[in-house]
Amino acid sequence: MNLFPKFFIVSLLFAVAFWGCDNTPVDPGDDFVQLQFNISHQVDDQELVFDDIKYTNEAGNTYSVVTLKYFISDITLHNSDGTEYMIDDEHYVDATDPTTLTYSPGDSIPNGDYTHVSFIFGLNATKNVNGYFVNPPESFMEWPPAMGQGYHYMKLEGKYDSAGVVTKNYNTHTGPSMGNQYFIEMTLPSSSIKAEGTNLTVDLMMNINNWYSGPNSYDFNTYGQAIMGNQAAQKVLQENGADVFSVTEIR
């Protein structure tokens, strides 16, 4: 007796019965690793404490930090064979909000040996258009159309002692000034990673003082406020910003 037809029908029925309602997503398997970035902020070797006028930059301004909000986006892993894996995603950081200091990009990355990690500080020109973010807090980073449209890349604000006598406000606001894109393609030093297993954590640290030095000394008495339309200030910050992040640990 040939049992094959019956076996076939039974199998088919099993398949129909269980396929009918089960839409469990496919497990990506072991070939992908979930990245997580833990973000911290310092001023040189001091942990960032808000609201105290106690930090000193290269120009000699003694200053506080009241607000620090910014975007990082498009994390890219560079393989030793020259290929790249870019995660098309954006992350908003409010340094006063601990929930934003951990970032797990939407996509996991393929296993591999990567020579370094890079990302965009701010948003690329395609994303940096009005309406890209509908909801706060991201939408509150709006950069008005009258000055180029899109979003602030960073709001770094506080107070400084001018000439040691008068306390003034400063606003280090970076963004697409007058339509010129000043986002920064940041390459993280010492970011060689071997992606395997299930999770990989990268500890990132921003040194705020690096915004104000190397290669350009940035003085609040020159660029204290109202720099959104100031091309020279935006250029200086773009150049200085290249090294504000470092990798403190990968595990």
Binding site: V16, F18, V66, P136, F140, E142, A146
Partner: protein, 350 residues
């Protein structure tokens, strides 16, 4: 059943139907009427509205909330409603009063806040002490210088009323009225109060007068720098700032709530929509006109330790606008007035 294949066929057919839960439901006798879901229409470019899972919008809930909003039954002596200090024609603020007066004739200490587009906020009152509209709605009833009632007394009045028990039943499917249900209904109504149809919304920048266009440029550049706190379609960041007002009272605002020195003298940013209708201005109603407000940011800033870093040129008192620039800015601000909102019959006393 002799044929094993037929047996298997029956078995798997049963299994398939069971898996998919397609068996007919037993007949339900007579369903109770349920509240009608209300889908709120979000204006173009506005964020997603914050609607708590435990207070979905319904036609019946909104209607009940509207009735409660305008009914003095919630006050101790049956003389004051929410609408007494929040008049629609004035952007739901109190007409030209710095401080509203409660049922005992006592003045409050802060200016009546406008109520519109509140469904996009996660903090309420000038000091942000309540995180939801539902929590906010509970407070004026028991405030000793506002409605000066107790919630048990207010609930008893509602329960004894000839209409409210049926209205609560229709909205919340219960015979028992509670203060939380009353607050939920008021919150539902308040979420429907939307203003998004000003002249600027209708015609955009190109359709504005030359003066308003110049005002737009002042507003949206660092010449006036209004946009950092009054940006997006909401014209508010819904955040808290010390905007450089001279300290005239011991009111420390947001600092009272957080307990942080760094938050002293911060108050919530109001929307600039309908600003033409909501005088007087600031948390204490100290400015009677838009001219006075703009003069403050132009020449009147006063330094204090917590003054917001966004306040420009504080040493000289502000951004130093010319007289013409001030008039241009006012022209733009008046383009944010929305009379279809102040006259919307859906928001008026039922």
């Amino acid at each position: 059943m002799k044929n094993p294949l037929l047996y298997l066929l029956s078995l798997f057919t049963t299994l398939f139907l069971y898996q998919c839960n397609r068996a007919p439901e037993p007949p339900i006798p007579e369903p109770e009427p349920t509240p009608t879901p209300y889908v709120i229409e979000i204006p173009q470019g506005f964020p997603d509205m914050i609607i708590p899972d435990n207070n979905p919008m319904t036609e019946e809930g909104i209607a009940l909330g509207r009735k409660l909003f305008y009914d003095p039954i919630l006050s101790a002596d049956n003389t004051q409603s929410c609408g007494s200090c929040h008049a629609q024609e004035h952007g739901f603020t109190d007409n030209l009063k710095a401080f509203s007066v409660g049922i005992d004739g006592i003045e409050g200490t802060r200016n009546s806040m406008p109520i519109f587009n509140a469904g996009w906020s996660a903090s309420f009152f000038w000091d942000g002490r309540e995180p939801t509209l539902e929590a906010q709605a509970l407070k004026p009833v028991t405030n000793p210088i506002e409605m000066h009632n107790t919630w048990p007394a207010a609930v008893a009045s509602l329960q004894a009323h000839p209409e409210y028990p049926d209205l609560f039943k229709a909205a919340f499917e219960t015979d028992t009225i509670t203060k939380d249900l009353a607050a939920k209904a008021i919150a539902q109504f308040e979420r429907t109060i939307i203003s998004a149809n000003s002249l600027y919304d209708q015609v955009g920048l190109d359709g504005l007068s030359p003066a308003a266009k110049r005002g737009f440029d002042i507003f949206y550049t660092e010449r006036g720098d209004c946009f950092h706190c009054h940006g997006t379609k909401l014209f508010t960041d819904n955040d808290f700032h010390n905007n450089g007002l001279e300290v005239l009272s011991p009111d420390i605002g947001y600092g009272e709530i957080t307990g942080l020195d760094s938050d002293f003298f911060k108050f919530k940013t109001p929307s600039l929509r309908n600003i033409e209708f909501t005088a007087p201005y600031m948390h204490d109603g100290r400015f009677q006109t838009l001219e006075e407000v703009i003069n403050h940011y132009s020449e009147g800033l006063v330094f204090s330790q917590t003054i917001d870093p966004l306040m420009k040129n504080v040493g000289q008192g502000g951004v130093q606008l010319t007289a013409d620039e001030k008039q241009d800015l006012i022209a733009f601000l008046k383009a944010l007035s929305d009379t279809s909102f102040t006259n919307n019959p859906n928001y008026s006393q039922p």
